[in-house]
Symmetry: C2
Subunit: 251 residues, 2 copies
Amino acid sequence: MDGAPPPPSPAGLSAYVAVSQALGLALLAATGAWLGRYRGGVGWHSPLQLNAHPLCMVLAMVFLQGDALLVCVFRHEAKRSKALHGLLHGLALLMALVGIIAVFESHRAKGIPDMYSLHSWCGMATFVLYLLQWFLGCGFFLFPGASFSLRGWYKPHHIFFGITLFILSITSCLLGITEMLLFKISDSYSHFVPEGILANTLGVLLVAFGLVVGYVLTREEWRRPPLAEELALSMDFKTLTEGESPGGGSQ
Amino acid sequence: MDGAPPPPSPAGLSAYVAVSQALGLALLAATGAWLGRYRGGVGWHSPLQLNAHPLCMVLAMVFLQGDALLVCVFRHEAKRSKALHGLLHGLALLMALVGIIAVFESHRAKGIPDMYSLHSWCGMATFVLYLLQWFLGCGFFLFPGASFSLRGWYKPHHIFFGITLFILSITSCLLGITEMLLFKISDSYSHFVPEGILANTLGVLLVAFGLVVGYVLTREEWRRPPLAEELALSMDFKTLTEGESPGGGSQ
């Protein structure tokens, strides 16, 4: 069944995905330019360790997470689509973990308290829920234990919380940008200095990336139709439940 | 046709809407408590005019806008639903305008430059797009000039950008909270002072309100089925287009 050719992608979808990737690369470049040109670059076990935090979080929780969601709209075979979705989310999780370690170690080295700001509250809540979503996603879809009816119940929740966590990740990044600017250039920010304009532009790029990815994911006509193997599964499920319902006592 | 009883609301919807309203009232109370207890209250043509900005924006662009979106899921007759949707958005627009005037006048009085921060960029972009969405919504759905096919094409875009603008509004509020805290209590914020915890909690309430409203709006089974008058219109439209298509030259 895996050998069946996937249905063609709808017209226009590729153009929107291309725009999203251009925005994604632009926002990574803007992050690099900001940290490299104005914040001294990125380091580890040095005063520059804090800068590893925004770099890792933007790359992991925005770019990689966004692409992991986009994969679901493309017309691959189910197995390849699932594998790529899991791989990108796995990479995002690891890189986000490095980013979180960077900020905690950097705070400890400088004697700065943790978890007092709205950015840290939103960011940590997003990461913990992302971890939970990751484990639930693996539990329901990767391991063979979950029943078809459980998977069917969970799937729309997985999609809703997947998009929600992506939005929350972008929001946390915007809060982090504002926090960093007000810590570092509070005196000159209001004079439209280049660093402020660059970091604000990074914020706008993050919003634009989220907007395009969100549009692609939620456009009704672009939803991926059920694949051959999913249809076969749902037929099996229908047969099973219809077979069970007259007895009705086994559940 | 207006006299026909609306279909019943699905089970569970009312509970979620009740939770959203409790969260909405809680976030308004938290905003009032923050401004009243820690920021000296709200005024006009006084040093307290700046505080009118967060009060108006949270009330208008989060609470009223969120409720204007929720109205669309409820099972009213089409005319009542449309009127309430328009009324709440109209109130939100007016109140947001007052909030924007408050911040510009307050900046002018204190000699603070406008529009340099990421909060101001996101907030102003959100308001301008909200205004555009408002005019487009009126143009397509309120005035009788738009054809049924144009309305059918625009509706999913109106819904997507409606939810997007609601999310952007919440994001802008979170950026505003972070900005205000770092301007006012940057020295004590990291010591977990009550004002910081209260304002962070307001941020969490804003996210929770957005989450519940977003869940209600996007849950597949809770989508409002087409109303009798909408079905009649689409039947008319079908008859019209099927009647027109053989000729085909009139457009």
